[in-house]
Symmetry: C2
Subunit: 348 residues, 2 copies
């Protein structure tokens, strides 16, 4: 069972995953080749992953594809084969001298976004991206019934420099028995602003950005895509719902269709401007136990992996960004998104 | 002039370095080749850096090497040629609608650790490492007289994956007009512990670690080198002074000699166990305006760059560490440090 350990100075909880303990020789300097070879996320290899917890099969009643853990799906969710957290048991909080720990209880799932090994989230039709978003929502609604969990992280590592270990398009979900420190800080910061102003800080940002029009990349009826005022990374971009909503999973149905459009729009622009960058996408949402509130506004943060200064910034929390967001946004705006779509993704 | 911008949600200040604004094409996917070519940090190329602010020249009175910006130095400190912050002017704090910014005022210096292009901090004799530490201290004592500065960051990026852009051994110093968010959190965490226990949390950690002897790598009369209880990264290792001291620059003289030994010991072990890893070293110290206090205990954090999961962790503040510190420490302890020293580094 992995352990959750608390740093006694900052209060940060860290997963120490004892099950997959690594020896020095395991940190190969030559990274895994991702191209070619066997892929557990392709059709026909369903038995090579843990049994699915969710799958969308459009032809459910049409034959053998209706079988669980068999081909025919468009989106498939499976437990991570090498989970960072264990699903069974209690937290068993305890001291270790002056230190604090608990069992690493949680869920770690993989959302396989498409059966097509060569597709990326950016090249999927909007309808397929929407399916991915629905799968994420369904998993949250299921997992939030487990009262051990306080927070669900949804994220995507695209490309090996961004931490992906498999090439086939996928996202991940981690359900945690604690709130990550950075989540607490964002929630607290937003709450302080709300106490002072009696307005949501994100709603205020959206109003100012739409009025200034300096950092807006694009918008549709439900979402605005923009560079934040103080981005940590070059070309960092956020997608925010225009209407105040605290949690991703509480959005009304039509919002997922708009979100799929916004995600596709952003990824197509980034692929064009930054030449298919590696990136991380992270959904920032309210804790499971406070899914409806006035101060926090769920959103997606997109961070392309363009610079290598991470190490220092890890150690200090101090960021130097060489690209002003106003400059980055100019490049992102210029892309003709309809022209940038590959042929064959329009017929949906 | 670069800008310091504040994220309105978390309160994090970020440097937006407008002077070296990057276009998308500047983020080359093929990193700079570091081997070979012209090196501005080698003897004879002193005119290729900004004029030195400090240099140690053992043969000061022995001839032409006494000249500033000429060869003959053992350690040389120069302003960064591409500084993240500008040294001139006032902060000029102001609003930008709902946002906050100020001028990016600060110092950004490079400590060239050796004239030997092929040496690393790990292969330098202890006496030379001590010189580097004295140079760092001298620069802090000078810069802290400038009342615009609140914090001085000392750090080292070793190897290109850790963010180094030049191969020749060097460290960096950044003097800031604000406290970085992570520094505030560490200080606040330590203060909370002190208020509750009336003891320094780091002093308590040192006592428990020396008693348990589970995570201690090595020690000398003034320092203990150990894996922290809840490390974010595999083989993360801290060097702490055994006696309570809030700030790096306030240590008594003999301590720098012991620290040089501890730094060398750690780097030699890491080079042996992890095969010359890229790494970041960060000095954690008290703010300039509170250099003596009971709750904060300065120390060094060493983070080898072994995994590539940074992107996700940037976005969440949530860390998964596949190597328990107890396991990492076992490998680090096993190294025969005297045998691991390259021939030719012993005669000092």
């Amino acid at each position: 069972m992995p352990e959750l350990r608390k740093d006694p100075i900052t209060g940060r909880w860290v997963i120490i995953s004892t099950d997959r303990a690594k020896r020095p020789s395991d940190f190969s300097r030559d990274q895994v080749k991702m191209k070619g070879g066997f892929c557990p996320f392709c059709y026909g290899n369903e038995s090579k992953t843990p049994p699915e917890v969710l799958a969308f099969r459009p032809n459910k009643n049409g034959g053998p594809s209706a079988e669980r853990d068999s081909p025919g799906w468009t989106v498939r969710v499976v437990p991570n084969k090498f989970p960072a957290l264990g699903i069974e048991g209690g937290l068993n909080r305890q001291a270790q001298g002056m230190f604090d720990k608990m069992n690493g209880v949680g869920a770690h799932e993989v959302i396989i976004e498409t059966p097509d090994h060569n597709a990326t989230l950016a090249t999927l039709p909007e309808k397929r991206i929407e399916d991915v978003l629905w799968a994420m929502r369904d998993r949250i609604l299921d997992l939030r019934q487990d009262k051990r969990f306080k927070y669900i992280l949804l994220f995507k590592n695209h490309g090996e420099p961004a931490g992906a270990s498999l090439e086939h398009a996928h996202s991940q979900l981690i359900a945690l028995p604690i709130l990550p420190k950075q989540v607490i800080e964002e929630l607290e910061g937003a709450k302080q602003y709300y106490i002072y102003k009696e307005r949501c800080v994100f709603c205020d940002i959206i109003r100012q950005e739409l009025a200034d029009n300096l950092r807006v990349v694009s918008e549709n009826k439900d979402f605005v895509t923009m560079g934040p005022y103080a981005p940590r990374f070059p070309f960092e971009t956020w997608i925010l719902p225009k209407r105040h909503e605290s949690a991703f999973e509480n959005s009304p149905s039509h919002v997922y269709e708009s979100l799929a459009k916004a995600v596709k729009d952003l990824l197509v622009r980034a692929d064009r401007v930054l030449e298919n960058p590696s990136y991380n996408l992270v959904v920032h949402s309210s804790p499971l136990q406070e899914p409806i509130n006035d101060h926090y506004h769920w959103h997606i943060e997109f961070m392309p992996k363009l610079t290598k200064t991470a190490g220092f910034e890890w150690g200090t929390g101090f960021y130097i960004n060489p690209t002003p967001p106003e400059e980055a946004v100019k490049f992102m705006r210029e892309v003709d998104v309809s022209a940038a779509q590959p042929v064959g993704t329009q017929n949906h």
